[in-house]
């Protein structure tokens, strides 16, 4: 598996002698490895040209852009290199068949809620928190999902489960500076919301990059509505991993005081965002987290969470090809 490069400061990126060359303000210009790079995250201002994009296409490197606030702006998704007409047809057919789509979408929700429960139960044991009420509600939502009548109803259940689950955040996090109170998105109203928004988008991007390595089309999601304008399958996939990757990371960053009040800034127009230093801390922790490995029980090999995300995409591909029914990844602890 290739590396992910993060370009946090401003500069220029170009193709030079069959490899990548980056020049940044106040830093020594340097070559970047092209063969072992899978994706590049661009946070600062970047000058680039078409010959670079052509080169990245040839090397199958995906480019993600973020705006000034660290908000995801978009992706340079190179021409598909893994083409299979059979998979695309199966994916589209699966989407248009309402019963089959509902089945897959509800399995995704069940997996997502199960992972939320794992997170809550983990901290219940560790911090002896009183969270029985949340756990039993989550269990109820999980049981409701397969019985719901439609995909929009499923989305409703997912929303309710997540709202209930977010109440657990304030019980766990003691620091007043990181109370969430309620989930707000555009713009995030406080530090906790800012952290969640930023890391959720990292999780969506991780899923997108892994889908690029499969034959699936990221525009056709099953839980999230497909409108052929933006990616949605990666949102489906990220639901499974958000509790394990994003939320657990937030708790560890905040509880260990690695991320603090001083790492946030209030912007004109309202909204609290991570500042440059804060973003760097969070990204470093994120990169370490997704590269952590666990032993895969069936593959009998260590797999990183990043690799696990791709294997999750494979599972969806196998499901739509009528190969093996989709069984979501659930954290063991």
């Amino acid at each position: 598996m290739g590396k992910t490069l993060y370009l946090l400061s401003s500069g220029s990126l170009k193709r030079k002698d069959n490899t990548l060359f980056v020049e940044r303000v106040g830093e020594k210009p340097r070559f970047l490895p092209v063969e072992t790079t899978d994706e590049i995250m661009v946070m600062g201002e970047l000058d680039l040209n078409k010959s670079l994009l052509e080169f990245l296409t040839q090397k199958q490197i995906i480019l993600h852009f973020f705006n000034y606030h660290g908000y995801y702006a978009g992706t340079y998704y190179p021409r598909e290199h893994m083409n299979s007409g059979a998979v695309i047809l199966a994916q589209a057919a699966h989407y248009t068949d309402e019963a089959r789509r509902h089945k897959l979408a509800s399995t995704l929700i069940v997996g997502a809620i199960e992972n939320m429960r794992k997170v809550v139960a983990y901290y219940q044991r560790r911090a002896s928190l009183d969270v029985e009420d949340i756990l039993s509600d989550l269990e109820r939502f999980e049981a409701m999902a397969p019985q719901s009548g439609s995909v929009p109803a499923l989305m409703g259940i997912e929303g309710n489960a997540r709202n209930r689950y977010y109440q657990f955040f304030d019980r766990l996090v003691q620091d007043e500076a990181f109370k969430m109170v309620e989930r707000t998105r555009r713009p995030p109203s406080n530090r906790m919301n800012a952290l969640i928004s930023f890391l959720n988008s990292m999780c969506y991007i991780l899923a997108l990059s892994q889908i690029y390595r499969t034959h699936l089309d990221p525009r056709i999601g099953f839980l999230h509505e497909t409108n052929f304008r933006r990616f949605s399958l990666n949102l489906d996939l990220a639901e499974i991993f958000k509790p394990i990757l994003v939320d657990r990371l937030i708790f560890s960053l905040v509880n260990r005081r690695e991320i603090q009040e001083k790492h946030f800034e209030k912007e004109t127009g309202g909204g609290i965002y991570l500042n440059d230093r804060g973003r760097e801390i969070v990204l470093r922790a994120w990169e370490t987290r997704v590269n952590e490995t666990i032993e895969h029980p069936r593959l009998k090999r260590n797999v990183s969470y990043r690799g696990l995300m791709r294997m999750e995409a494979y599972k969806i591909q196998k499901h739509i090809l009528d190969d093996t029914p989709y069984d979501p990844f659930v954290s063991r602890w």
Binding site: G2, S84, V87, R213, Y314, T324
Partner: protein
């Protein structure tokens, strides 16, 4: 669902004697994980060995690693990273020779294992031709199946670029 007949190429023939599931996946255009280490290594061995030859010579649906010729004789060469799957490599090369013969071109075949400094001559016998005719028929019926053969563990699974796909 698919009316199109599968294009039987060397890759499919090679896969056939290793894993039926791989044949089904390849027939649907579901290729293996490209960043797989073994796969990348194999590609490098092919590219970096016999550097003076012209590699990847297309013929019909096939791609020969390279061809040599002297005194009107054609030699098709297939480069392999190791001789671990020699039987399937032999079948693959025989398939190339068979395809050439059908087009009225007689050729010899050589399997090359540069990392082992080993060469194996392959001759297209009647027995091999009969075996290949069976393989073609089986590949075609396999490709027509709506559902892939379930994953079965074999000695090639460990390093296979589909391992994460099959066992994940």
């Amino acid at each position: 669902m698919f009316s199109e007949l599968v294009k039987v190429n060397g890759y499919l023939v090679q896969a056939f004697s290793i894993c039926r599931r791989q044949v089904w996946l390849l027939a649907r255009g579901v290729t293996a994980e490209q960043s797989n280490e073994s796969l990348a290594l194999g590609r490098l061995v092919d590219q970096n060995s016999y550097a003076r030859e012209r590699h990847q010579v297309g013929f019909g649906d096939n791609k020969f690693d390279f061809v040599q010729g002297a005194d009107g004789e054609l030699v098709v060469c297939e480069v392999k990273k190791s001789s671990r799957a020699e039987r399937s490599a032999r079948l693959q090369l025989a398939h190339y020779l068979y395809d050439l013969q059908k087009a009225g071109i007689e050729a010899r075949g050589v399997l090359m294992f540069p990392t082992e400094k080993k060469r194996v001559e392959v001759e297209l016998t009647d027995a091999l031709k009969a075996e290949l005719d069976c393989v073609y028929a089986e590949i075609e019926s396999l490709a027509q199946r709506n559902v892939p053969p379930p994953a079965e563990h074999c000695k090639y699974c460990g390093k296979c670029a589909y391992a994460e796909y099959c066992w994940g």
